[in-house]
């Protein structure tokens, strides 16, 4: 028999970026808000204090701030013909864990999607014709526009403390910024960070080729900054311990630094750690939720937490899993194409070129997670989909984000991996390498989806989430297009050695190497309840008092890092909740 806690107005599942945002916004409405977080409580000091946090073995290699796969994981397969196996060793993606979530250990890259990306199906058909869309691609428009989201992007950027250089201010193109971005109502709240040598070289080469380099926008403070909640960031010292680490310097925008101390002051907000939500409980008619049941890891018991409003703010994988386990949305069936929950999983298509110079010295120990110069000349709104034979695009960038010795010791191919030859290689090439990377879109397909695993169960006896994902030809053609462009830029820099890494036709998804923690889709947003789980306000079509934040809402992935869109959508949903839903709870669409 589950213990029952006193009812709350709102229960929030997961206390990362979106949990903190929704917690703050709804606490400001005077509601009793409770956040449930399965992991540990964390704060800058003592958890990220220097020099303990700069322990690459503990945090960089063994990923101490990331979800423990022994406690929670999913199964993965590439095709329906394979048997999915549990993801037992962290590799391809690193979901967060504990208060702050993945917002603790991210690099800080913060982008807005291009306006065209939010209406990609309509844009593609209008510009290039319906026949451009491959038969197995689930291309959809987002059910809202860039203009509607713009104030909410702006809000998130100001809360998270983004340093950058605007390229399009209310329609006016600003030199030095990204000329291909959507119009911004205001400049970034902090000027762009200074750049490292590799980024400067890349920008020069790109400029010579007629491209438009600009500094990467990121949640790394370039000066002392105070956000709307009175929360503070201090200028970054370029230590280079961002991704996989918490910031000891109050310089990286994260839920701790930007929201949580302000939220904790609110008497009507509370949070409980080591509480893992097992399912959303629905009323008998399945039209509303009554609360959530969670497992209290401290006392070892199941607890029912009643609430009027349930907001899933966990990582995309967990949100999708919880929806399936709670029976919200009809499960997606890849054979019939019917059902919605689990439909439209997508990832990110990246590639890179490594450059080695005998006569150039980089200081790889200097960097920030969002360091770098970028070009968006091959972004989605600059590509002729019909001519190039793919739908998508990438941004291309260079910039040292860290020089951590264990994982950041690039060597030319053929250098021995150990022993004397390896040491000689290090001696010759350490500090002489830079790389150019592409970060590209990934579309959604009929055969890329998530469901409940028929074999493997988690520690609570629930079926695990199963991911079925493989690379598709459309995205491989996209990344091969980028390869040509990037090698051209790289050649301009005249490196002594140049080596490329791009997915080739027929490439199979490999979960072992880290690629990116940009898992999206699975509970996508849309106007049509037969092809989407959420409406335009991130509210589930079927259960009106359940809202779902995060990148699970993306119908297909954008070419950028997702946090800017996730943050913008969270403020957009919070606005709808505050100004409309709370007055009259109902399906808002």
């Amino acid at each position: 028999m589950a213990r029952q806690e006193p009812k709350k107005d709102v229960v929030i599942v997961g206390l990362g970026w979106t949990g903190a945002i929704l917690g703050m916004e709804l606490a400001q409405e005077g509601l009793e808000v409770l956040a449930l977080e399965r992991g540990e409580d964390r704060d800058t000091v003592p958890d990220f204090k220097f020099p303990n946090i700069a322990d690459e073995l503990k945090y960089g290699v063994r990923c101490a701030l990331v979800q423990k796969l022994s406690a929670a994981t999913l199964t993965i397969r590439r095709t329906q013909a394979e048997v999915a196996l549990p993801y037992r060793q962290l590799g391809s993606f690193l979901p967060g864990d504990g208060v702050g979530g993945a917002g603790t250990h991210w690099n800080g890259h913060t982008w807005r999607p291009q306006p065209e990306e939010l209406r990609l199906r309509s844009y593609t058909i209008e510009r290039f014709g319906r026949q451009t869309i491959p038969e197995d691609m689930l291309l959809q428009d987002y059910p809202l526009t860039y203009d509607e989201l713009e104030p909410h992007f702006d809000r998130f950027e100001r809360v998270a403390g983004i340093s950058g250089q605007a390229g399009n201010l209310r329609g006016k193109i600003i030199p030095g910024g990204n000329p291909f971005e959507g119009p911004r109502s205001d400049d970034y709240c902090m000027p762009a960070m200074p750049q490292t040598y590799d980024a400067t070289l890349f920008a020069q080469a790109a400029k010579q080729l007629g491209y438009h380099p600009f500094p990467r926008p990121g949640a790394i403070a370039s000066k002392a900054y105070v956000n709307e909640y009175g929360m503070q960031l201090g200028p970054c010292s370029f230590c280079g311990f961002c991704e996989r680490y918490g910031c000891y310097n109050y310089s990286k925008g994260s839920p701790h630094v930007c929201i949580l101390d302000a939220l904790k002051r609110k008497p009507n907000f509370s949070y409980r750690t080591k509480t893992e939500v097992l399912r959303v409980e629905l009323a008998a008619d399945k039209k509303t939720a009554t609360g959530v049941t969670y497992y209290d890891h401290r006392t070892g018991e199941e607890v029912f937490q009643p609430a009027d409003l349930v907001i899933l703010c966990a990582y995309q994988l967990h949100n999708v899993h919880l929806l399936m386990l709670s029976g919200i949305g009809k499960p997606y069936d890849p054979v019939t194409g019917e059902g919605v929950t689990g439909r439209g999983y997508a990832y990110q298509m990246n590639g890179g070129v490594q450059l080695f110079f005998k006569d150039k010295e980089f200081n790889p120990f200097v960097g920030t997670g969002s360091n770098g110069m970028v070009i968006d000349d091959f972004g989605i709104n600059q590509i002729d989909f019909a001519r190039e034979g793919f739908i998508g695009g990438s941004y291309i960038s260079t910039g040292t984000t860290n020089g951590q010795p264990i994982r950041s010791m690039p060597l030319p191919a053929g250098t021995p991996a150990w022993g004397k030859g390896w040491k000689e290689g290090i001696g010759q090439w350490y500090g002489h390498a830079m790389s150019i990377g592409s970060h590209g879109s990934c579309m959604s397909y009929k055969n890329c989806y998530m469901d409940l695993d028929p074999t493997y169960k988690d520690q609570f006896g629930r079926p695990m989430l199963r991911m079925t994902f493989n690379w598709n030809e459309n995205d491989i053609r996209m990344t091969q297009f980028m390869r040509v462009k990037m090698e051209e830029i790289a050649s301009q820099l005249k490196p002594d050695i140049m080596q490329s890494g791009f997915k080739k036709s027929g490439a199979m998804y490999d979960v072992r190497p880290y690629q990116t923690t940009h898992n999206v889709g699975g509970n996508i947003m849309g106007e049509d309840p037969s092809t989407s789980v959420l409406n335009r306000y991130l509210q589930t079509h079927d259960v009106h008092n359940v809202f779902v934040m995060g990148a699970g809402a993306f119908p297909q992935n954008i070419q950028y890092n997702p946090t800017g869109l996730v943050g913008g959508l969270a403020y957009w949903a919070a606005h709808a909740l505050r100004t409309d839903y709370l007055r009259q709870p109902r399906n808002l669409a």
């Binding site: 201090g234 010292s237 302000a262």
Partner: protein, 433 residues
């Protein structure tokens, strides 16, 4: 011989008479002041505000205890004093106090049974409270604060300090001024002066103490008023001289510091953080600005110092040394780069409201290095306040640096950039671990 005997006898008789007088002559209460505002403005809300301004909560509550139930340990040079329960509980609190008795506690340091309160209760300063504020405070405690039955531990000091009648003799020396006197035509400065001298009892820490531990200056009539003191071995900053923060900072910057524990140059440390957390953050912006205006007035400053502090960007010798990356640089400089430079930077200027500037920093340059050593060893935390909720923390380094290293680092910081304070010894560090 006879003469000597007579003198000794006379002295003994005199002493007996004085002691007898102290024991049996009734204690006089300072009379109530005239109400310079109508009785109507006596409100619970005003009382609560004055309670905040007077910081009653901080001393009369234990960590995690119910508000005003007392029992907090207060370290005094004479031993531990336990604060009292000031909830309106009739047995263990102040529930039986009449308004006059309540006033006597604030003005004369008297319990309603006639016992003398130890001057850990700053009645030297509360004597300046206006009648409207006393009545409002009384109303607040009697009507708004829930009565809680909580008997606090008895304060037991060593002889002779356990003889409470001795406090009476002390009061003859300490309680000289009894009325706040306006000092300026400027209403804002007057308001600031009232808050500083009365409820906020700034002199309790920021004025020096006499040999008999009375405050050396409860108002600016005394030239030592607010010229800095000492508390638990820490130097308490001077707020009056030409090179004090009152002179260096603009009134807005001072008000920011008071309300949030941080401004463009400095962050609060030690006891001041508690004052910000429990008291000053609750004052209106106008009142914190009034305090700042009074302090500016007191230092006779035009606030030009603050400007020059920020504008001179010429790299100092210290900055050049730190950026030289010279492997043979002294231990203190190397430790600074390895432990401090990430936030306070090589120019020692830090960043506004988050990383305090060390160049010119009051704590760094204090006569006593105790505060600086304490912060290096044990870290610091800013209080969460309404305007600046972040509990920004500096980590401690006690686990990481030896006594010799902390001494070298503290000496480097005390003598780096424009700082010119004395060196720190490893022994001084050892005592604070």
């Amino acid at each position: 011989m006879k003469t000597l005997m007579r003198i000794v006898l006379a002295l003994i008789v005199l002493a007996v008479l004085v002691i007898a007088a102290m024991l049996w002559v009734p204690v006089q209460h300072t009379p109530s002041k005239s109400l310079d505002e109508p009785e109507a403005v006596v409100t619970v809300a005003r009382g609560e505000y004055i309670m905040r301004a007077s910081d009653c909560l901080a001393c009369h509550t234990t960590d995690g205890g119910r508000p005003f139930t007392g029992g907090r340990k207060i370290d005094s040079p004479f031993g531990i004093i336990y604060s009292t329960n000031i909830t309106p509980d009739k047995e263990t609190g102040i529930g039986t106090y009449s308004l006059d008795e309540f006033r006597a506690a604030l003005y004369d340091g008297l319990r309603n049974d006639g016992t003398h309160l130890y001057p850990a209760m700053p009645y030297e300063n509360y004597r300046f409270l206006s009648e409207v504020d006393v009545r409002s405070l009384y109303l607040y405690f009697m009507q708004e604060v829930p009565a809680v039955h909580n008997a606090v531990p008895q304060t037991v000091l060593v002889f002779p300090f356990n003889q409470r009648w001795g406090v009476r003799a002390w009061k003859w020396l300490a309680l000289q001024e009894s009325e706040f006197q306006s000092i300026s035509f400027d209403a804002q400065i007057n308001r600031g002066a009232y808050l500083v001298q009365g409820p906020a009892h700034c002199a309790a820490c920021h004025s020096p103490r006499t040999a008999l531990m009375t405050q050396k200056g409860v108002s600016e009539k005394n030239s030592a008023f607010l010229t800095g003191g000492e508390l638990n071995g820490w130097s308490v900053p001077d707020l009056r001289s030409k090179d004090s923060v009152s002179a260096m900072w603009s009134t807005q910057q001072m008000a920011n510091y008071l309300a949030t524990g941080r401004n463009d140059y400095a962050t609060s440390v030690g006891q001041m953080s508690l004052v910000v957390e429990h008291s000053l953050q609750y004052l209106t912006d106008e009142d914190n600005l009034a305090i700042a205006a009074y302090l500016t007035h007191l230092s006779a400053s035009s606030n030009e110092g603050a400007l020059s502090l920020q504008e001179d960007k010429t790299p100092t010798q210290t900055e050049r040394l730190l950026t030289s990356a010279d492997p043979s640089m002294p231990l203190g400089a190397r430790l600074y780069l390895d432990n401090c430079g990430g936030c306070h930077f090589v120019d020692g200027r830090g960043a506004a409201e988050i990383f305090p500037a060390l160049d010119g920093n009051t704590l760094v340059n204090a006569d006593s290095a105790t505060g600086l050593i304490h912060v290096i060893l044990h870290g610091a935390e800013l209080p969460s306040t309404t305007h600046r909720p972040a509990r920004l923390r500096m980590q401690g380094h006690a686990w990481r640096l030896s006594d010799e290293e902390v001494a070298a680092l503290a000496t480097f910081v005390r003598q780096g950039w424009h700082n010119q304070a004395t060196a720190v010894s490893a022994n001084a560090v050892k005592l604070l671990r």
